[in-house]
């Protein structure tokens, strides 16, 4: 999976979850913390949605592994870091 595809999946999922097709969601959009577009339960939903979107493309991946949770820099910080993390996992 290339970066563009991964970004697209994450952006679509965010737009879908916040239910706003016209929202300005891009690589820099923050997913975690004070300026995030989703709250914590929103992030949980988002992760599940992304996992099922990936599964539709035949990538059976768990995003919330112990590895993801214990990294010093969370892969869930932004749309871009999450997309990078997806690429990392799909290539593993």
């Amino acid at each position: 999976m290339n970066k563009e595809e991964a970004l697209q999946i994450v952006i679509e999922a965010v737009k879908g979850y916040i239910d706003d097709e016209n929202a300005n969601i891009n690589a820099e959009t923050i997913l975690l913390g004070n300026n995030a577009v989703v709250d914590s339960i929103g992030l949980v939903n988002l992760i599940v949605d992304i996992e099922s979107a990936l599964s539709d493309k035949n990538f059976e991946i768990t995003l919330t592994s112990e590895d993801a949770m214990s990294r010093r820099k969370s892969p869930f910080r932004s749309v871009e870091t999450l997309s990078d993390y997806i690429i990392e996992l799909t290539q593993a």
Partner: protein, 444 residues
């Protein structure tokens, strides 16, 4: 001696309808004949106080046998065709004789070779009182064999009261079903046993035999609504529908009341360990209810209902006593209080803990079932590495619908009705709800 008052009433009503079974109507004369047959049979084959199991569905013979067991002072262990673990239960209830009916009503008499010796059984035998052992299903662990002294229950029925033509919906081994049956028999009412407990068959049966009372479960009421079986059959003879044994979704209650405003909806509350309590609903479409009656005391501690009853069990045969030193029983039911009324929120075991916040499946199910094209929703917890657990839902649709569309529809609908952590994260579309033979939802 124990049931003289019931037999006297039979004798006064010999030609009245008693049991509707297998498309035939049996009168009290017939029940009395079968009762006398069984009493002789028990006297010949069992000792007073011995433990006798019966596997059956309700039919004129099994009903008469139950009465004969009481009269003969036996300890009765009812099994239904839904029981899968009879062998194990025969051991834990120390069953000495086993009368096994097939579905046509033919029976076998089996000596198990067991000799009952449990101290609670001996205690009851010394009192020379008849007993009954019912198994408490419990969502976890082994079923517990609960021993009741029958005379407590019989005393309740000595005062004559009016009865309605009633369907036996609960299975033969259900404590609530036994209560209903004895109530009707002691007031020489009419008991109807439908062949099959499906919404269509039951509605047809109600129409054909002018049934007035249907004691059932919320799941079954919902199945009646979904199947629209009430359009095919006239169920206007029904006066009362009682529901219990599991949580009633508010949406089902309101929908049913809207369709059938003349049918009284009555919530019942009973526990294998305590008996069936008198309840009074605030109104027909309300889940607020008063529970108790003169034989029960209730208290709520940390939102959990505790009950103290005059007619509680002697104890379990295969587990420690469930009562505290003062005789209180922890029901495990979470409730809300409003003056004298309480509202059941769910079983403590069913609560989903989402990041420390509590979610009751019934509340979420009730919202989901208001959504267009959703016929049935079963909510349960699913492990999640971030929140510990999240809410998941299995949905039965009216017509096919793509999962993604359904998911976003559910989120939109729930947004202003439920807190964010209660909105299902995982949605699955199921072919059919998992409903047990007792018409209760099966959560996983």
């Amino acid at each position: 001696m124990h049931i003289d008052f019931i037999i006297d009433r039979f004798k006064e009503n010999l030609d009245n309808e008693a049991v509707i079974w297998n498309n035939s109507v049996y009168n009290y004369r017939y029940l009395l004949e079968r009762y006398e047959f069984w009493l002789d049979f028990l006297k010949e084959n069992t000792k007073q106080g011995s433990v006798v199991a019966v596997r059956a569905d309700y039919n004129p013979d099994s009903i008469s046998l139950m009465l004969a067991l009481i009269e003969n002072g036996n300890i009765f262990v009812p099994f239904s065709f839904a029981n899968k673990d009879i062998e194990e239960k025969i051991q834990s209830a120390e069953v000495e004789h086993y009368i096994k009916f097939d579905r046509k009503g033919n029976f076998h008499f089996i000596d198990t070779g067991i000799k009952a010796s449990h101290e609670l059984i001996s205690k009851l035998q010394q009192r020379k009182n008849p007993g009954v052992i019912v198994f408490s299903s419990g969502s976890t662990g082994k079923p517990k064999a609960a021993l009741h002294d029958y005379t407590h229950l019989l005393n309740k029925f000595k005062v004559k009261r009016a009865t309605l033509r009633t369907v036996t919906f609960l299975l033969f081994d259900h404590w609530g079903g036994i209560n209903t049956l004895l109530y009707i028999l002691s007031n020489t009412g009419v008991i109807g046993v439908p062949d099959v407990r499906s919404p269509e068959e039951v509605c047809e049966f109600i129409e054909k035999y002018k049934i007035e009372l249907l004691p059932t479960t919320p799941t079954f009421i919902n199945l009646i609504l979904i199947s629209k079986a009430y359009l095919k059959h006239d169920i206007s003879s029904l006066k009362v529908m009682s529901y219990g044994t599991e949580m009633m979704p508010e949406s089902t209650l309101k929908a049913f009341n809207k369709l059938f405003p003349d049918i009284t909806l009555k919530q019942t509350y009973g526990l294998t360990e305590l008996g069936v309590m008198r309840t009074k609903s605030e109104s027909n479409d309300s889940l607020w209810v008063k529970v108790g009656g003169e034989d029960y005391e209730t208290k709520v501690v940390d939102n959990v209902l505790f009950i103290k009853a005059k007619t509680s069990i002697l104890g379990y045969l295969n587990a420690a006593s469930p009562f505290d030193a003062d005789g209180w029983y922890n029901t495990g039911d979470r409730v809300e209080q409003k003056g004298e009324y309480i509202r059941f929120l769910g079983r403590e075991n069913d609560i989903i803990n989402v990041g420390g916040q509590k979610v009751f499946p019934a509340e979420v199910e009730s919202v989901l079932m208001q959504i267009d094209n959703i016929n049935e929703a079963t909510v349960f917890g699913k492990a999640n590495p971030i929140m510990g657990n999240v809410v998941a839902a299995k949905i039965i649709l009216g017509n096919d619908e793509p999962l993604n569309q359904l998911k976003s529809k559910i989120r939109k609908f729930c947004k202003d009705k439920l807190e964010a952590y209660k909105i299902p994260v995982h949605i699955e579309i199921a072919e059919k709800t998992k409903v047990s033979e007792r018409f209760k939802k099966v959560r996983n």
